[in-house]
Symmetry: C2
C-alpha cells in the first residue's frame, strides 16, 4: 500500500489497512511512506493489526503536481516507486495507490515492466449494470489508440473480467457514438473489423455510452479519453443525485418522514452505484498487479480498492493475462 497518495493520504489508507487485516486474518500488508508520520497513526490500531503490517520507510512523496518525467527521473525513492518495486520483486502480490495517475503509469511501466507482446498497458475497471458488471477500459492511460491497441485492450479486458466476474463466455464491444458501421473514427472502425475477424473473441459490435450500464455486454473498449470521460460523467450524475436528495428533503419539511424513507432506499441504490464501491482500476498489461484508487478516495473507498487488489493477487491476474497474451502471440506467429 502506497500510504501517501490521494487527497487524504495515510488518513484514508491506514484505517483501510486496519479494516482489511481484521477482515482477512491471513493477510499481510506492507505500508510505504514516511515512518514517523505513519507510526503516529498506527499507534491507535490493535496489536493484531500492527503485527501484520510492516512499515517501509520512504522519504519521498509524489505530489499531484509532479509530472511523469519528473517522477521517472527524481522520485525513485518515493512511497509509490517503492511499493511498485515490492510488486516487481515478488514481495507483494499486488499494490494499491491513490496517487498521481501520470506518475503511476510511468513508474509502473518502468519498474514493474510490461508483459511481453503488450503494446500499451491500460487502466480498466468494473462498473455496475442492472444484474452484474461491465468492464470498461481504457480509463485514461492512453490518449491516442490505434486499432491494434484497441484489439489488445479487448483481450486484456476479457481476461480481467473473467477473473472479476467469474464468468467465461464473455462478450466485448467497442464504445462509439452510434451502432452503425460508418460511425466513429478510422481507428474505431478498423478495430471493429479486426475484432470481427478474430475467431477467439465474441465481438458484438459498437455500443454507445449508455450501454455500459445496461448489461448487454461484458467488456467495453475505447481510448483513454472516451473511457475517462464516460466513467467520470457517470460518477458526476451519481453525486448529483446524492446532492439533490438532501436538498429536496430540507425544502419540504412536511414530507420529511416519507422523504427519509425514500432517502434510505435511495442510499441503498446509490451505494450500489457510487464510485467508491467500484473503486480500484486495474493497470492491465504490467508484469504485476497494480491498482489505482480514486484520488479522492475515503477510507471506505480505499478499502474497496484493496479488495480489488486482493482479487488480482489471489487469481494472479497479471500472470494470467501474461499467459493469455503469450498464447495470442504464438497464434499470431504461427507457432503452437
Amino acid at each position: 500500500m502506497d500510504a501517501m497518495g490521494g487527497d487524504l493520504g495515510p488518513r484514508s489508507v491506514v484505517p483501510a489497512c486496519s479494516r482489511f487485516l481484521i477482515r482477512f486474518p491471513q493477510a499481510e500488508l506492507k505500508l510505504f511512506g514516511p515512518r514517523s508520520q505513519l507510526q503516529t497513526l498506527l499507534i491507535k490500531e490493535p496489536p493484531s493489526v500492527r503485527e501484520r503490517l510492516e512499515v517501509i520507510d520512504c522519504a519521498q512523496v509524489i505530489t499531484q503536481g509532479c509530472n511523469p518525467v519528473q517522477a521517472l527521473r527524481h522520485k525513485r525513492e518515493s512511497s509509490m516507486a517503492k511499493a511498485l518495486e515490492a510488486v516487481a520483486g515478488g514481495d507483494c502480490g499486488a499494490m494499491v495507490t491513490a496517487g498521481n495517475t501520470g506518475a503511476l503509469l510511468a513508474l509502473g511501466r518502468s519498474i514493474v515492466g510490461t508483459v511481453e507482446g503488450v503494446r500499451r498497458p491500460a487502466l480498466g475497471k468494473s462498473l455496475p449494470t442492472e444484474d452484474g458488471t461491465c468492464f470498461l477500459l481504457d480509463l485514461g492511460a492512453n490518449i491516442d489508440c490505434s486499432a491494434e491497441d484497441l484489439v489488445q485492450f479487448a483481450r486484456m479486458g476479457l481476461e480481467a473480467q473473467r477473473v472479476f466476474s467469474g464468468k467465461s463466455d464473455l462478450t466485448v464491444a467497442l464504445l462509439n457514438i452510434g451502432a452503425e458501421e460508418h460511425k466513429g473514427t478510422e481507428e474505431i472502425r478498423r478495430a471493429g473489423q479486426l475484432l470481427q475477424a478474430a475467431p477467439d473473441i465474441n465481438y458484438v459490435g459498437f455500443v454507445e455510452g449508455h450501454d455500459i450500464f445496461t448489461g448487454i455486454v461484458d467488456v467495453v473498449v475505447c481510448n483513454g479519453l472516451m473511457g475517462n470521460v464516460a466513467m467520470k460523467a457517470a460518477e458526476g450524475v451519481i453525486r448529483l443525485i446524492g446532492q439533490k436528495t438532501f436538498t429536496i428533503d430540507k425544502k419540504a419539511p412536511i414530507k420529511r418522514f416519507f422523504g427519509q424513507l425514500a432517502i434510505n432506499l435511495l442510499r441503498k441504490w446509490r451505494a450500489q452505484l457510487e464510485p467508491g464501491r467500484y473503486n480500484g482500476a486495474s493497470f492491465l498489461g504490467l508484469e504485476g498487479n497494480v491498482i489505482k484508487s480514486h484520488g479522492g478516495a475515503s477510507s471506505e473507498a480505499f478499502y474497496r480498492a484493496m479488495l480489488t487488489a486482493k482479487e488480482c493477487a489471489e487469481s494472479d491476474l497479471a500472470q494470467q493475462l501474461g499467459r493469455a497474451m503469450a498464447l495470442q502471440n504464438q497464434r499470431h506467429t504461427g507457432c503452437d
Copy 2:
C-alpha cells in the same frame, strides 16, 4: 416538426404537437410526413389543435440506416429535408426532428446553410447541475476537432447558454482527463492556450467528466466523441437508477405503502435528471434553428424538445449566434 423521425415516429410527434398547441394558443405548427398516415392520427385531436397544425405531405422518409451521403443525394423530398427547407425559407422559426443524426447534420448544413465564419456547426445541450444547467457541446456532430474548432464551439456554446439560462457573465471550460496543463491531446492543450488568451471569454481551464454536473462552469466544450460519450454515459446511469427503483419495490411487499410514497418522491428527483427532460440538442452554427430530439423520445420527451425549439425561435438563437460570430470575425480582421 419532422413527424417521421425516431423510434415512435408520428405516434410520439403528433401527441406532442397537440399538447404544445393547447399549451401555447398563439403557436402554429407545420407537420411534415405522409399525409394519409398523419391524418389518421390527427382525426382524434380537437379542432382547436387541427386548425393550427398544417400537414405538409412528404412522400419520402429517412430511415435510421440511411447514411449522410444517401440522404444528401436521394432524400431531398423527405419529411426531414422539407422541414429544414421551411426553416431555411423563413416559414418556420425552428424545426425539430428525432430522426437520423448523420442525415440531419448533412442536410442541415446543405439546406439551412452555415453561419458565415463558422467552421463547423456543433450539437449542444443543457444538462442539469445542482442549481442550474451546464451547456455541453459538441455532442457528436464533429469527431475530430482542431483547437480552433474547440474555441469556436466555446463561443457558440456561450451564446446558446446565454439564451437558455438567461444569464450573462458565463464561464467556459474544456473537457479533459485531468485539470493539469500537460493532460489531454495536443488539440485540447492548444485550445486551452487560445481560450486563455481570448480577452472576451471567461475561460476557467480544464474540467473532468463529473464537473459537467457540479455547476462549477456554465459551458463545457469538447469534441463530438467525448461529448456524446459523456452525455450517454450519464443517461445510462440515470436509467440504471430507474430500473433499480422498481426492482427493489417489488421485492419488499410489506414496505409497499411507504415504499410507494418514497418512490413518488424519487420519481420527482429522477424527473429532474432524466434524459427526456433535457431533450432537444441545438444544432448550432446554422442559419436557422434546428433541434435534434433523442431518437428514442417518448411523446413527453419530444414535447420537451419542442420547448427547446420554442426558446430558440423566440430568441432567434441562430440569428444572435450569427451576429456574435460576425462581430468576432470583424474583431479578428481588425475592422470595427
